[in-house]
């Protein structure tokens, strides 16, 4: 293989020597990485590539054709009024034909342009088929988020079938059923399989053609969708209206089918709120937009890889489930300060279960219909917002003077620290839900004293002023304070004062 390759390089090198002329008007497009660069490896559907694929600067060609007053049809054929994404052909039928189309059309055009003294490209084999190409692709994948989706709905005047379609196996026709829209990727996978084209091709066919055929619409050039700077220019609609696909406002996630298999209380799940906090439906509905239990049943199904509903929701790794996604939120700067200190192990405490599993079966069975479910979930959500105890009687400041040696004691602004933490919780719906109960915010510093949070014991009752260093895993008092302060400040990116700046907190004695 290697010898073959080097033979090719050698031959091309020799050929180059005998070329009496060079293209002096060839566009020098070297050493560039762009969103419009694409790899032409069309021959790989027939055989293993003999030469390296061609890095093709697409936008450069579009622009040049435009300058000459030409359009896409120079390179792309049309079918039913739509451009075909393949170069100068409708389908890959024969190896020789495809090969001739590329070599014939590319080289001819380049040569003709040269004769006409226009900007042109290479004609020699090794100039296009480069082993280590200087042109490289750097496409950013656009995110079709709620905002962009809404803008398309608005532009398409609520005609979802502009993009969404199903497929009728019998009639072999695309069909559309309102309320059963799916994500493109539900069917269009990474590679084209039989009649189902790859997601990449499907997206290009749908987007480019629609943008081209619709006046004043989205971009056609590669960079319009794949260049980071261009993507940033796309107007963002704040709080776009909710998508309607007959999804519930809220529902119950049940870990039981009936009374006989009662396991845990149900989880009221506010679907509407979650729609706003994730980037797209696929964050949770990873395969398709069906209900979770369709694949993840209570006992496990083949379609769901035998992952049961409880496993799917409690998996600490999978971002499609509840626990892992919520745990991810703890990395937020506002949350990290406390959560870097407390043990985040899920399920250590039965309170952890009750935080979510809060609706008993009796309550659910007393409800008549789906509307009832919605109502109860709303009640639960409302309760979650209101059960937080308002902090009273906490000291304004604490003077930690007992261990003052080298430096003066720290003026510890106890109240304002709590206020800052509470403010962080206040602005976060998820945080609010999980910080119900009596002064739970206190627990990050006053750890191991959850039963007495309203009047926690002194730190020095466990953290001794001396002798705390013995390996009992309880730091001494000074060390405990330092650890607590430094770790929280680090986690919340509070740079000032630095941990090593003693007089930043202490007065010099």
């Amino acid at each position: 293989m290697k010898t073959k390759k080097s033979a090719v390089i050698l031959t091309s090198a020799l050929l180059m020597l005998f070329i009496p002329y060079s293209f002096n008007n060839a566009i020098s497009d070297t050493g560039r990485s762009g969103p419009d660069v694409l790899l032409i490896d069309a021959m790989k559907v027939f055989q293993e590539l003999e030469r390296p694929g061609v890095m093709f600067p697409h936008d450069l060609h579009t622009k040049e054709l435009e300058n000459r007053g030409n359009d896409c049809s120079v390179c792309h054929l049309s079918e039913d009024g739509n451009l075909v994404m393949k170069f100068a052909r409708l389908k890959d039928i024969d190896k020789e034909v495809t090969l001739d189309i590329y070599h014939g059309k590319c080289i001819t055009c380049h040569e003709e342009s040269y004769e006409a003294n226009l900007s042109t490209g290479p004609v020699e084999c090794g100039e296009c088929h480069v082993v280590e190409p200087k042109l490289t692709a750097s496409q950013k994948l656009p995110s079709f988020d709620a905002s962009l989706h809404y803008r398309h709905i608005k532009a398409g005047k609520d005609a979802c079938d502009n993009c969404h379609h199903g497929y009728n196996e019998e009639t072999q026709q695309k069909i559309y059923t309102k309320g059963e829209e799916e994500s493109c990727r539900t069917c269009h996978g990474p590679e084209t399989e039989n009649e189902v084209v790859s997601y990449r091709l499907a997206a290009h066919q749908a987007c480019v053609n629609c943008h081209q055929n619709t006046a004043d619409s989205g971009p056609i050039a590669c960079s319009g969708c794949h260049d980071a700077a261009e993507l940033d220019k796309i107007e963002v609609v704040e709080n776009p209206p909710r998508l309607d696909r007959n999804q519930p406002d809220s529902t119950f996630l049940k870990s039981f089918a009936n009374m006989d298999t009662l396991m845990m209380d149900a989880v009221p799940f506010n679907h509407r709120v979650h729609e706003n906090s994730v980037s797209s439906c696929r964050t949770c509905h990873h395969e398709n937009l069906d209900k979770c239990e369709k694949c993840h049943s209570l006992t496990g199904k083949k379609e769901g890889n035998f992952i049961t509903l409880p496993q799917a929701m409690h998996d600490e790794k999978s971002q499609h489930g509840c626990v892992a996604c919520h745990a991810q939120e703890l990395q937020e700067q506002n949350c990290r300060g406390c959560h870097v200190l407390v043990v985040n192990e899920f399920g250590r405490d039965t309170q952890d279960c009750k935080n979510c599993h809060s609706v008993s079966l009796e309550l659910i069975s007393s409800l008549k219909n789906d509307q009832g479910e919605v109502d109860i979930a709303r009640i639960e959500a409302k309760a979650a917002r209101e059960t937080r105890t308002i902090l009273k009687d906490v000291p304004e400041k604490i003077d930690i003077g007992t261990i003052s040696e080298e430096y003066e004691a720290v003026f510890f602004p106890h109240r304002s620290i709590i206020d800052a933490l509470m403010k962080g919780i206040e602005g976060n719906r998820l945080a609010k839900h999980f910080h119900q109960g009596d002064n739970i915010v206190c627990a990050s510093c006053h750890h191991n004293s959850s039963d007495e949070l309203l009047k926690p014991p002194n730190c020095s009752s466990c953290h001794l002023t001396s002798g705390g260093k013995e390996a009992v895993n309880i730091p001494g008092l000074k060390e405990a304070y330092h650890q607590q302060c430094f770790r929280c400040h680090d986690a919340m990116s509070i740079k000032e004062p630095a941990s090593t700046d003693c007089i930043g907190c202490h007065e010099q004695k």
Binding site: V343, K469, A471, E479, H482, R487, S499, T500
Partner: protein, 352 residues
Amino acid sequence: MSISRRRFLKWAGAANLALIPGKSAIAASNRHFEGYPQGGGVLFDSTLCIGCRKCEKGCNEVNDFPAPVKPFDDLSVLDERRRTGNTAFTVVNRYKTSDGSDTTAYRKIQCNHCLEPACAAVCFVKAFNKTPTGAVEYDASVCVGCRYCMMACPFDVPTFEYNEAFNPRVQKCTLCQPRLEEGLLPGCVEICPTDALIFGERKKLLKIARNRIENHPDQYIDHIYGEHEMGGTSWLYLSGVPFKELGMKEDLGIKPALEFTSGALSAVPIVIGLWPVLLLGMYGVSKRLDKEALEEQDEAIKVSLENAAEEAAKKLETALNKADKAKKREIETAVKKALAEAESPQEGNEES
């Protein structure tokens, strides 16, 4: 009691069999040295270290070292790749970590007080000694200054008093063994303001370390450096970034240094024991060969002498025989001649 040839071979065979698997039996066994049961150590938690250099200061004070060139509150030296010296048994360095451009992590360097120290293994005067408290002690009074320990240490810790003209010593952290004996903590541990250093029984420290990793899996690398490295060390390390990023060797393996050489060195007594036997045997054999050669020579001479005498006798006999025959023939000839002479005048007379 006489030993038959068969019995001797049996014994020899059995002895050989016992010798062959001797080496691998140590490795395959589940019994390996895990340190002294109550052996102490220190757990360094890099995530708690703030790089204040207080431990360096504590070490300096308890050891009565001269003040450093840059005072301990100058934190700019943290970015240098400092190593321990004969007047600084511990140093803290700061490392840029891969998880962010401005995030840093600290590493404290000092003697790790290996459970099976390489320095002690190479020392031929037994200047190093692993004590039950966990410290690796150094006895300057027996040290000959060969500095093998410095070459052997996988952590590049021992240093030498090159500037001492007389009796230079190898210097390294003592784990404050004298203080431990008084019931005090090592200097660095005592002064640490965040408990990034905790002293205690190594076994307890391991439990604490595991506990921290388990409770905060997102904050720690799931590895306790020193638990198994080079057979285990009394100093243990926790880190939030890969230990490689703290400049710590990750390729040391889990074998104690002495196991690398124990195989070869265990052959030494055998060689020492066998050489005299072998040489004496060879001497004996060559002596015997000489003696045999002499005996053979004597025999040969004797035989040849005997042969010579016989041959001489034979020769004499033949010579004598020959002489006899010759004489006889001569006599006969003379007789014949005489007879012939006696007859012939008679005939002539008769004719004349």
